[in-house]
Symmetry: C2
C-alpha cells in the first residue's frame, strides 16, 4: 500500500480509478442511514488550515437553521489543528461516541461532533497512517478519496467543502486548490452527493487566535454574534452554502442574512451547550470561557516598529503553536489545549512601536519568550499597507 | 521503504543519492577482502535473460586463465532463470556455502559459485523482496544499487556486466539497456572498481535450451568446445573482457583466441568438476550429462509450415518453461530442474513442414502437449529470412 500511495502521488488516478478507490474505502466499513430524519442531512468539511475553528460555530448554527449535521471530524496533525482537539479542550467533552450515541444526538439536537468511529471507513484510517509516514499526504486523489469516503459514510445528502488556499493550506497554490475543489465536486456529484466547494483564503490565519482552547473561545465569541469579522464571514457563508445545497434557501445572501439573525439571537450557542452536556462536557464553560484550560504564562508580543501589518504567515504561526505543545506529530502524541496565540494582528492593522501585536500563551516563561521571537518573524510589518492578501471567499464550485 | 522504492521508480536518483544508496547497502553487511590472492579478483554479472547459462562455463574458463572468481549468483525469479538453480540441478551441489568455505574454494580452485550469504548486503535482500511485490524491479538506480552493492562486497577489483537487450530482458529497449550500462559503469568506476558493461542480445533465447538441467547440459557442451555458436561467442567475449579489465590481456581478440584454446583443451571442465565435488555434487555427471535430472516426457514440437525461422520470442519460451515448473514466483517456491525446452530452432533456420523445431521436457504428457502449442506461438516462421535479430554483441562501455 505504501508503494501504491507513492505511485498515486506521481501518476495520479483517472476518474474510474479514483471512483474505485473511494468505493473500496467507503465499503471498508459501515455506512450510516439517516434517511429517517425529518430534514436534510448535511455536513461541511475543511481541507485544513490555521486558526480554522469554523465547525464549532457552524454546526450548531446549521442545526438551528433546520439541517441535521452528523459531523465526523478529525484530529490535528502536523501544522493544522483538528476540530476534535479543539472541541475536547472544553472540560469533559468526549468525541469517541458510539455510532448509537452519535445517531441519537443528531436525531435530538440536529448535530454531533465526534471522531470517525472504528466502523467508519477503516481503510481510510490505515491509509492515512501510511500517508503520514511516507510523505504522501499532499496528493489530490488521495485527499479526495480520504475526505469523500468518510463523508459519504455519514449518510449525508449534501456536503460543503471548505478548500483552503495559501501558505497555511496543504496545497498552497490557487491552481492546486482549484484542482482539488474540482475533483472533490466531480467525485461527490458522481456519487449523488450534492457537493459544493468553496475556496477560502489561508494565506493568513483565520481569526485572531491559534491554539485549541483559545480557538474555542473565539468560536464562542462568534456564537454570541461577536468575535473577528473574517471568522463570522466564513461561518455565515459556508452555512449559507449548506442551506442552498440542501434546498433550504435559494440565494446565498438571503441565507446569510437569516443565519446572521440566528447567530445574533443566541440559540445556536444554547444548542451547542446542550450538545456539550450530551457529550460529557461542562456546559457552564460556554457562558464562562475563562473556565477553559488556561496557560500559566501570557506574554504580549510587542512591535519594535511603527507601520502597517502587511502579512501574517500562517505556517510560522502554526509551527510556533505546535512547538509550544499545541500540535502533534503522530496521532498518539498528547497535546496541550491551553497553549497558543491570541490577539494576533492582521493585515492592514496600523501599529505604533511598542503596540501589542499578539499574546503568547505558554507553559513556561522560556517557551513564551521563544514563541514571541518567532511571532515577530511571522508578523510582517511594512511602512504602508499593501493589498496582497487573498479575498476571504475566493471561488465557489 | 516501499514508498521510497516507488518514488525512485518515478523520480530516479541523482549521482550522490545513488552513491549513498550503494554505500548503505554495501555496508549493511560484510565486505570480503581477497587482496591476499596471487592474481586479479574478478567477476561477471548478467542483468538476466532467457537461456543464459554463461556463468557455468565462464567461471571455470576465467579461473583457468588465471583469474580468481568469487561468484555470488542469484536464483531465478519471474521469467528469468538463475545460475544457482541451474548449478544445483547437478545432483548434490550446494550453493549455501559459508563465507569460509567460499573463500577457501576461491583460493584453491580460483572460483566458487554460491548464493549471497546472510552476511553479504542483507539490505539488498530485504529491498529485493519488497521490489518484487511492489512492482519496482525495473528501475535503473534500484538495479544498479542491487548489483553493485553485492558485487562490491565480493572484494573484486574488476567486473564485467552483461547487460541484456531485447524482449527477454528486464529493460527491453536499447535505450534503457544503454542507460543501465552507463549507470553501472559510472557508479562502479567511481568506487574504484574496473567496470565494463557489454550489451548482448536478448531478443531471442541464448543457446538452444531453456530450463535448469537442460541449460547445464548445454554449458557442459560449451566446456567441451561444443554446443551452440552463440553461447560460445558470448562466453569467450565476456571472459576476454574480464581478462582485459583485469590487465591480463590488452586486446579482446587475442584474449578470445587464447580462451578458445583453453576451452577446447578441456581443463576448464576438469576445474568445474573439482568445484562440483567441493560443493557437494557428483562430479561424474559432468562426463555423463545423462545423469542430470531428466523429465519423464520428451515431446518434439513439429513445424506445421515450411519456411524460415524469423524469430524466437524469449518471453514466450520463458513463460512456457515457467509454467512447466521450471521457474518460481517467490523465492520459496520449489522448481523442477528437469523440465524445459531443448533443440530450439533459431533465426535463419530453414524448416520443412514436419521438421522438429524444439523438444519439450515435461512432467506429464498433458503439460508437454500444452507447452508444444505455446512454443508454436513462440517460434515465428516466415516465407523468407529477415535480418531483424540484434547483433549478439551490441556494444561495450
Amino acid at each position: 500500500m505504501s508503494a501504491f500511495l507513492m505511485a498515486v502521488v506521481f501518476r495520479g488516478l483517472d476518474g474510474a480509478e479514483l471512483d474505485a478507490l473511494v468505493e473500496v474505502m467507503l465499503r471498508s466499513g459501515a455506512v450510516l442511514d439517516l434517511s429517517h430524519l425529518p430534514g436534510p442531512v448535511a455536513d461541511k468539511h475543511s481541507t485544513g488550515g490555521v486558526g480554522d475553528k469554523v465547525s464549532l460555530a457552524l454546526a450548531p448554527l446549521a442545526a438551528e437553521a433546520g439541517l441535521f449535521v452528523p459531523m465526523m471530524a478529525g484530529r490535528g496533525l502536523g501544522h493544522t489543528g483538528g476540530t476534535l482537539d479543539k472541541f475536547e479542550s472544553i472540560p469533559g467533552v468526549r468525541t469517541d461516541l458510539s455510532l448509537r450515541h452519535f445517531r441519537a444526538l443528531v436525531e435530538t439536537e440536529g448535530m454531533a461532533i465526534a471522531g470517525q468511529t472504528e466502523d467508519i471507513a477503516p481503510l481510510d484510517r490505515r491509509l492515512y497512517a501510511l500517508r503520514s509516514v511516507t510523505g504522501t499526504v499532499a496528493s489530490i486523489p488521495l485527499i479526495v478519496s480520504s475526505i469523500l469516503s468518510k463523508k459519504l459514510a455519514e449518510g449525508i445528502s449534501s456536503l460543503v467543502l471548505d478548500v483552503k488556499v495559501g501558505r497555511g493550506a496543504f496545497l498552497p497554490t490557487l491552481d492546486q486548490a482549484r484542482a482539488l475543489a474540482q475533483a472533490l465536486v466531480d467525485v461527490g456529484r458522481s456519487r449523488g452527493l450534492k457537493t459544493t466547494a468553496v475556496l477560502t483564503a489561508m494565506d493568513r490565519p483565520l481569526g485572531r487566535t491559534v491554539g485549541n482552547a483559545l480557538e474555542v473561545r473565539e468560536a464562542l465569541d462568534c456564537l454570541r454574534g461577536e468575535g473577528p469579522e473574517d471568522l463570522r464571514t466564513v461561518v455565515l457563508h459556508l452555512t449559507a452554502q449548506m442551506m442552498v445545497a440542501a434546498g433550504q434557501a435559494t440565494r446565498i445572501s438571503d441565507a446569510e442574512a437569516k443565519l446572521a439573525d440566528l447567530l445574533d439571537g443566541g440559540r445556536p450557542l444554547e444548542r451547542l451547550q446542550r450538545v456539550v452536556l450530551q457529550q460529557g462536557g461542562d456546559p457552564s464553560v460556554l457562558d464562562r470561557p475563562d473556565r477553559l484550560p488556561r496557560a500559566p504564562v501570557e506574554r504580549p508580543v510587542v512591535s519594535p516598529l511603527q507601520g502597517v501589518v502587511v502579512g501574517v504567515d500562517p505556517l510560522r504561526v502554526a509551527r510556533t503553536v505546535f512547538a509550544l505543545g499545541g500540535g502533534r506529530k503522530t496521532l498518539e502524541d498528547p497535546i496541550a489545549p491551553e497553549v497558543g496565540v491570541s490577539h494576533l494582528a492582521s493585515s492592514g492593522d496600523r501599529i505604533a512601536a511598542g503596540d501589542r501585536i499578539a499574546v503568547v500563551h505558554a507553559r513556561t516563561p522560556e517557551d513564551a519568550a521563544w514563541a514571541a521571537e518567532r511571532l515577530l518573524e511571522a508578523i510582517q510589518i511594512g511602512s504602508q499597507a499593501v493589498p496582497t492578501s487573498l479575498p476571504l471567499i475566493l471561488d465557489v464550485r
